[in-house]
């Protein structure tokens, strides 16, 4: 069954959606959408550097995304620029440097479209292993820091006063985001990863009364978007990554139209 490219694509998309949903909830709650976008854009630079160093792209993406997150935190603390200006600078700066580097490397043939928008129909069995193993690590890490991170999201001082060690939770969150970006890149590409983090979480919000219900619902919404998007892409011969995002947006629209039935009580 795994021989079929479409089944592999489904499995890859579902694996990413299952982890991006719960993690994306924190991106929404903590207002980190642009932060996530910046880390994702830096992923292209990660691919380019991985090619130069001849290591697997996933390591390059993870390392650069994590480094960008660290740089952001440091620069933000120095307060030279406002946070959103800083994010814009790093986001587009790393994307541009990545594009230039890729163009300079004339000796390798790189499908730039696949990097930017994903190429889920081309995932191999090894990619699948990477996505599901990486996803398991992300979910386990998120479960580990769930309570401290949620307390920090509600009120950092409260979390610190009551022994939650919020600094460590924030650091782990950065690493988990870098990991999700590294494994999701193949599926939706650097430009659309943030959509997979944010849209399912946003769609889940109105139907949830607890953070945990919202995380579960976001994962389910993401899986549904992947399935709908991939079948649509097969049927109408549209690009797969963008089709998944369009499906997610449609689900978000449906969630707005639904009467308020609340889960999580």
């Amino acid at each position: 069954m795994l021989d079929d490219f479409f089944v592999r694509a489904l499995l890859a998309g579902i694996g990413v959606a299952l982890t991006a949903g719960p993690l994306g909830c924190f991106v929404v709650w903590r207002r980190m959408a642009y932060f996530g976008d910046t880390m994702a854009h830096a992923g292209l630079l990660g691919v380019a550097l991985a090619l130069v160093l001849q290591i697997a792209p996933v390591f390059g993406v993870f390392a650069v995304a994590a480094a960008i997150a660290g740089a952001l935190l440091l620069l933000d603390r120095r307060g030279a620029l406002s946070t959103d200006a800083l994010l814009g600078l790093l986001s587009h700066g790393t994307l541009a440097v990545g594009l230039v580097l890729v163009a300079l490397m004339t000796w390798v043939r790189i499908d730039l479209t696949a990097l930017l928008f994903g190429d889920v129909l081309a995932v191999g069995a090894d990619d699948l292993v990477l996505i599901w193993a990486g996803g398991a690590v992300v979910l386990a890490g998120l479960a580990w820091i769930w309570r401290p991170l949620l307390a920090d999201t509600v009120h950092p001082d409260l979390a610190a006063a009551e022994g939650m060690r919020p600094g460590r939770a924030r650091l782990v969150l950065m690493l988990l985001m870098a990991l999700v970006i590294a494994v999701a890149m193949k599926v939706v590409g650097v430009l659309l990863i943030t959509a997979l983090l944010i849209i399912p979480a946003a769609a889940a919000r109105r139907l949830s009364t607890t953070p945990e219900a919202m995380a579960g619902l976001a994962a389910a919404t993401g899986v549904l978007a992947v399935v709908l998007g991939l079948f649509a892409s097969l049927h109408w011969d549209t690009p797969s990554g963008p089709s998944i995002v369009v499906a997610a947006i449609l689900l978000f629209g449906v969630s707005l139209a639904l009467p308020t039935v609340r889960l999580g009580r």
Binding site: E162, R205, S208
Partner: protein, 292 residues
């Protein structure tokens, strides 16, 4: 230094209270100073909080009250001096202001377990104690200022803290609500014997049950029982002669409690149907709208 009797209008404490105002300090600040962006937010602060003791910080805006409380809570590290928390002390913290983002779904019940795992019975008991048991399933964002402050207090209570740190817990609460919250804080102290570090939002008002008032103004300006601080020349010089006559104390005053089923329990123990109460309000409203 702590003259208990002067501050308390009624017999100071129930005899059954464990470790009341005794024992080693839960937290001890010695010569604490915090330095930020080229200036000292506060300096040379000495404060001890012992089990069963209520210490109230007063002072004008920017006098370092919140900073001092944050050092005591272990949130901010002292740049000068020492802050020692007794080993194994569990802290409950009620911050000055919490704004829960609308995107974060959070019922009052879920808020109770933000920093720890507690059973449904403990949570219900804490919510009942602050009089908002009927709001357990409500969204935290939909609560009024007073209800939210009570929820925050219940959240800190359910932890069974040894040390409760309250940063302006009655801020934004109307007068009746203020009196009720202060009564509740005293009750928590009496029942659990925890130490309480309280920041008062009002320079002229402290709880009657306060053991020690510490008046801050970038440094400790004066300290003592509420009575002795009111008469302190430093305090008068800082806040004017009028302040001395108006350093008021809140007395314990019972109020009614809302039960989970919507009925109301009054101070004398009687329970009445909430509907009658509402009917009254309706009546008033109708009268008022008739005039308008």
């Amino acid at each position: 230094m702590t003259d208990v009797v002067a501050s308390a209008p009624e017999p100071a404490s129930d005899p059954g209270v464990p470790q009341h105002r005794s024992g080693e300090p839960l937290v001890s600040l010695t010569g604490v100073g915090v330095h930020r962006s080229g200036r000292w937010l506060t300096r040379g602060v000495d404060i001890d909080v012992r089990p069963g003791e209520i210490v109230t910080l007063i002072g004008p805006n920017g006098s370092g009250k919140t900073t001092t409380a944050k050092v005591a809570a272990g949130i901010v590290r002292a740049d000068e001096g020492r802050a020692i928390t007794r080993a194994g002390v569990r802290i409950g913290y009620v911050p000055q202001k919490i704004q829960i983002d609308w995107t974060l779904p959070m019922t009052v019940r879920r808020m109770m377990t933000l920093t720890g795992r507690y059973g449904a019975a403990e949570i219900d008991a804490a919510l009942d104690a602050v009089g908002i048991a009927h709001l357990a399933e409500a969204e935290a964002q939909s609560l009024s200022g007073g209800e939210f402050q009570r929820a925050l207090l219940a959240r800190a209570m359910v932890r069974r803290p040894d040390l409760l740190i309250l940063d302006e817990p009655v801020q934004g609460v109307d007068f009746t609500g203020e009196v009720t919250l202060y009564a509740l804080i005293k009750q928590i102290r009496d029942e659990t014997g925890c130490g309480i570090l309280l920041i008062s939002h009002d320079l002229h008002v402290v709880m009657a049950e306060t053991d020690t008032v510490v008046c801050l103004n970038g440094h400790v300006c004066c300290r003592g029982t509420p009575q002795s601080v009111a008469e302190n020349p430093e305090y008068m010089r800082l806040f004017g002669g009028r302040a001395a006559s108006t350093l008021a104390v809140y007395r314990h005053q019972h109020d009614h409690t809302h039960l989970p089923d919507g009925r109301i329990r009054h101070a004398d123990g009687t329970v009445t149907d909430g509907h009658e109460h509402h009917h009254d309000h309706d009546h008033h409203d109708r009268q008022r709208s008739g005039h308008a």
